[in-house]
């Protein structure tokens, strides 16, 4: 589904991605982790072309992201993304947030889009909040709406960029619950996250990054039980013993 081959990226003289290669198969859940500044957010934003990359290639469902001839909006419409800071549109109600791209991008009728939006709100347990504005919801609720907004486009896969790291601890659970459910239903997911409990539970593989490089790319069990590199061991020790 997602094929990342030898992707490198420079910001001026600094190299932020160094020859990264990995892939996510259909129905697979892959967790990307690593210390801050390791390039994991940059890598996931390359997947739907929000960040351009300098070298290498990325294909999603066989379509090349870096190809200037690719219709990026069309591709992005099929790839859902959930952001660290939710990025709901603050000037629109929850209902309008869910409907906007369905109507403008997919060309759905307003009623159809609304019905789809409402059923997804039901699913994340927020139907009662449909007419509120994002600013009136808690962080956890906003992130659940953001997931529903991504799902409303009927995506072929979902990208998560640190979906819980801007949340208060007591709200992380409600968001992870939704994500676990999606994983168990067979959604293809690539998740940048530090939630190792989530990774252990649903991830098939873990990709560990440091300094712009993919240091390890291993089945989840193997990664947690016997990380191959020192850097991964240090990272796991730090993150698990707090």
């Amino acid at each position: 589904m997602i094929e990342i081959r030898n992707v490198s990226k420079w910001y001026g003289p600094t190299q932020v991605l160094k020859g990264c290669s990995t892939q996510v198969a259909k129905g697979e859940v892959v967790v990307v982790c690593g210390p801050s500044g390791s390039g994991k957010s940059t890598l996931i934003k390359c997947v739907n072309g929000l960040e351009p990359f300098t070298e290498g290639s990325i294909a999603v469902d066989g379509i090349s992201v870096g190809d200037p001839k690719t219709d990026l909006p069309k591709l992005r419409a099929r790839v859902g993304m959930v952001f660290q800071h939710f990025e709901l549109f603050p000037h629109m109600s929850v209902r309008q947030n869910l409907a906007l791209a369905q109507v403008r991008v997919l060309g759905r009728k307003a009623e159809e889009a609304d019905a789809r939006g409402m059923s997804l709100l039901d699913r994340v347990g927020l139907r009662a909040h449909a007419d509120k504005f994002p600013g009136q919801l808690s962080g956890g609720q906003q992130q659940r709406v953001a997931i529903a907004r991504a799902l409303a486009m009927d995506p072929i896969c979902l990208l998560f960029d640190e979906p819980t790291s801007a949340l208060d601890p007591e709200m992380i659970g409600e968001v992870l619950d939704v994500m676990v459910e999606l994983a168990q239903e067979g959604m293809t997911m690539m998740c940048v996250t530090h939630e190792m409990g989530f990774a252990r539970k649903v991830a098939r593989r873990v990709v560990f990054m440091d300094h712009g490089e993919i240091v390890e790319d291993a089945p989840a069990g193997a990664f947690f039980d016997a990380p191959a590199s020192d850097r991964a061991r240090t990272f796991l020790a730090r993150i698990l013993h707090h």
Binding site: G49, P73, R76, V79, F83, H91, A101, R104, L106, A150
Partner: protein
């Protein structure tokens, strides 16, 4: 102390009203046109097409560094050469203020657009919205809302600045007061009256803007 006779205010009112109507019309047209053209200018300034952003930038800098009175005189002089026939002071004033204010609204809209975080643009793109759709549905509405108090404050400034059409003799409120003052030989009383009217309108508008500012601050 001189002697005043404020009884001239009574008979002056119909003239003042007509002048005020022109002042308001000029303000509203220049505001609407200024915001529309200003937004287009802002988009041009932020555009990655270098010649376009340069031209827009040069226009804005030019308008912002020349005194408004001089701009009014410039347009009044040049418009007849462009249209091939003389236009009245009123039409000239409307064109001038729209063109002039566009430069100021442009800078406001530009900082408004830049105040919308990159994350919002990313989110819009991630949903498949095109550049233009993201601008129209996500960025501009937020930019407008964030900048509403500043846009309105600029409009109050615009309302005051329309008095400068005095330089080309357009019949605005100040001109009406001036004419009545001369006809009744009571110029001092008429200046005081126009100052009071301007103050009453601008002061209440700026109080309203301050209320709005508080509300916007809470919603955010």
């Amino acid at each position: 102390m001189g002697e005043f006779d404020f009884s001239v205010w009574g008979p002056s009112l119909p003239f003042i009203r007509d002048g005020l109507l022109f002042t308001l019309r000029l303000t509203l047209i220049a505001m609407t046109g200024g915001i529309v053209f200003g937004t287009l200018l802002a988009l041009a300034r932020l555009s990655p097409i270098v010649p376009l952003s340069r031209v827009a930038g040069a226009y804005v800098d030019l308008m912002r560094s020349v005194p408004l009175v001089l701009v009014i005189l410039w347009f009044f002089l040049v418009i007849p050469y462009l249209t091939g026939k003389p236009v009245g002071a009123e039409v000239s004033a409307i064109i001038t203020f729209t063109a002039f204010e566009a430069a100021f609204y442009c800078e406001i809209m530009r900082s408004g657009i830049q105040s919308v975080s990159r994350g919002q643009v990313h989110a819009a793109h991630a949903l498949g919205l095109t550049q233009a759709q993201a601008m129209i549905h996500v960025v501009l509405p937020q930019a407008l809302r964030n900048m509403l108090p500043v846009l309105l404050t600029q409009t109050i400034v615009l309302f005051q600045d329309t008095s400068l059409v005095y330089a080309i003799g357009a019949k605005d409120m100040l001109k009406a007061a001036d004419v009545v003052g001369k006809n009744y030989n009571r110029p001092v009383e008429m200046i005081v009256l126009s100052a009071l009217i301007y103050f009453a309108i601008c002061f209440s508008l700026s109080l309203a803007v301050r209320q709005l500012q508080k509300r916007v601050a809470i919603v955010r």
